[in-house]
Amino acid sequence: MAANRWLATGNYFTSYQEEQRIFFTHLDRSVFMVFIALLFLWPYFFTLSNKYMLVIDNILIAMVAILGLNLVTGFAGLISIGHAAFVGVGAYTVASFARVLGDSHVVVTHFWPLLILLAGCTGAVFGAIVGLPALRLKHLYLAIATLSFQMIFTWTINFMRFFDQGQTISVGRVFWFFGKVARKQHYLFWYYVALILVIGIGLMIRNLMRTKYGRCLVAVRDNDRAADAMGMHPGLTKVYAFAVGGFIAGVAGALHAYLYRGVGIESFSLHESITYLAMAIVGGLGTLHGAFWGPVAIKMLDLQVEHLAEVAGEMLPANMNLATALRPLTFGLVIVLFLMFEPRGIANWWRIVRSYTKLWPFRY
């Protein structure tokens, strides 16, 4: 153990427990606490318009979803191309209650924390079911199995009258201790809810990775036969990875339903699944930080490309339709460039910055 717990500049672990600490130094912990405090306090000092609060809320919800995807694809190494469908399962769990009981029923508006939890559980059940093929399949074949879940989900919602054939099912405004969360507080309220969930789930995953269950995921990802030989059950590990990933995705879906006060199928399409996968890749697969960086990068890029497309749409001849192509082109280009030049994602830049500051002012 380092002599100075505030300014450790190298790896001085004397036990496995020490290496597994969440924060290596007191400075790390303090910086983290200050950062969290800032995240909670900034809305009191800066007022953002509803438009940008919606963007931030969206990023936080995407972070929750990517935490789930990262667990499945990053830590457990199971490619999932149907993650938006798992998010959709959570959203449609809330929508089902709104449809059966009414969008302003007390269960929907007052017991929303329970519904979010229930949405997570439904996501977990579906995750486990979709994970069952993982007992037999892996790599591309498993990816196809998750893709088929995406297809089945979209088809089911589009054709079932109960789900209004994919049209928006509205969800009422929720209540909190101070009463109904009105339009003025709506985005700020969901900012705090999503933020608490991001922090909570982030810490949960960090802790999970310190347990034998978390290490099982990595072991199975790296070599499932070796993991089997070591006494782990690769099949069950994969199913539980899908279940936990599905739970987190379900929570993200419920948040989405409440934030937008409605659920429509277009938010959970294959395109969204690919976007989630892109967020995970750009952020950095198999790292906790990656789940935070990815959504920020992709959503902000999206916003900027949107502005660019709007300008291009006005300047370029309409029949060329280049503005229409700009978004998918940029999106595809970013993913390709990341895969080529930084396959470890933005999380790796963060790691480099941290290593540099840890050693500073020494070069090694």
Binding site: N50, E306, A318
Partner: protein
Amino acid sequence: MRTTVLRSVQIAMTALIVLGLVCHVQAGETYKLALSLAITGPTSDAGNPYAKGVEDYFKYVNEEKILGDDTIDCTIRDDQYKTDVTKRNFEEFLDMDIVFYLNYSTGSTLALKKDFEEEQMPTIPASFHAGNLVDSNYIFLPIASYSAQAIGLAEYVVKNHQGDTPKVAMFIHPSAFGRGPVEDVEKAIAAGLKMEIVEVVEHGKDLDNTAMLKRLMSKGVQYVICHTVQSPVATVLKDSSRLGLTAKSFGEKEKLTFLGAHYTGGNDLIALAGPASENFFWTTSYTLTSEPGPGTDFQLALAKRFGRDDKAANSHNYTNGIMVAQVATEAIRRAKARGAKVTKESLYEELLMMNGDKAFKLDTTVGPVTYSKTDKMGVDTLQLYSVTSGVFRAVDKPFSPEFVGKI
């Protein structure tokens, strides 16, 4: 000397202030409106001319001082046909204190319906989906709904068919947008419309419809009512023409007569299907430049004035954009005329009063715009067109579907 300078400065400043105040009074008020639609992405082929129509008409209103010294400032944002972007745009518009909102797609209109209610925002979408009006007070359709259009086409088939009960297939978009009118046509049949729906075909992205067309023929289908977008209709028309199945005249025996609702037709369909589009029957409430009149003359002059190309100038979606801008302008003009402050509340009231003697008669549609508490469909009349020698020509006079009131 010093006193003189000070006095001069005082006089100059007073003059500036007075001038400023006078200019402010003369500048009039600016009314903020907003439009969110797909200028890029899916359906941008329709959204693009629609946006141009709205933009050009409001420019015209400001330049020609239709509202006196008052002007309209309409912010137009691209939402790429994505509901979450539309929602974000709408939040931005609310921060801008808009008094009237123009929306676009069916999906986003349904998704934002609650917001329109809460904000009491009068809204005209480009979607004619009847479901937009369910549990809604603030959404106003510009023209007859898709259901009314499909029923209108069905009525035309029944009236003009010779022989027994006509056998019809419905060729629809695989979504709520496509399915909605089917149920209403079935209700019209239950209410006494003598027609048989033999099959409802939800199209995919097929590039060849031979099997489907042969199947319809084997079932004795004579008419195909389409409710989707242009490209799948163009594919079916080309396949039918290639197989020699297309009727040369309406209702020709042992052949197929194709008919379609608003978004199936227009010049884009002719461009896509070519000669195969001949004898395609299409209904909408808008006037077309292929049938010149005062409305189309104005449309072409407007497009010329603002440097639009021929494609946009002749697009029925350009007409569509002009028309919704005309309705919004008229609501503002009427609110001003009765001395009311132009707010979303007063504009909502004006729209509700747009009926009877106060119906808004305009040349870009085939009938007047009428709204009331119980009627939120603007133009109730439809015009049937058919492709003759490569252009859409009017068939008979404008009509109102009878069974719409019976279902």
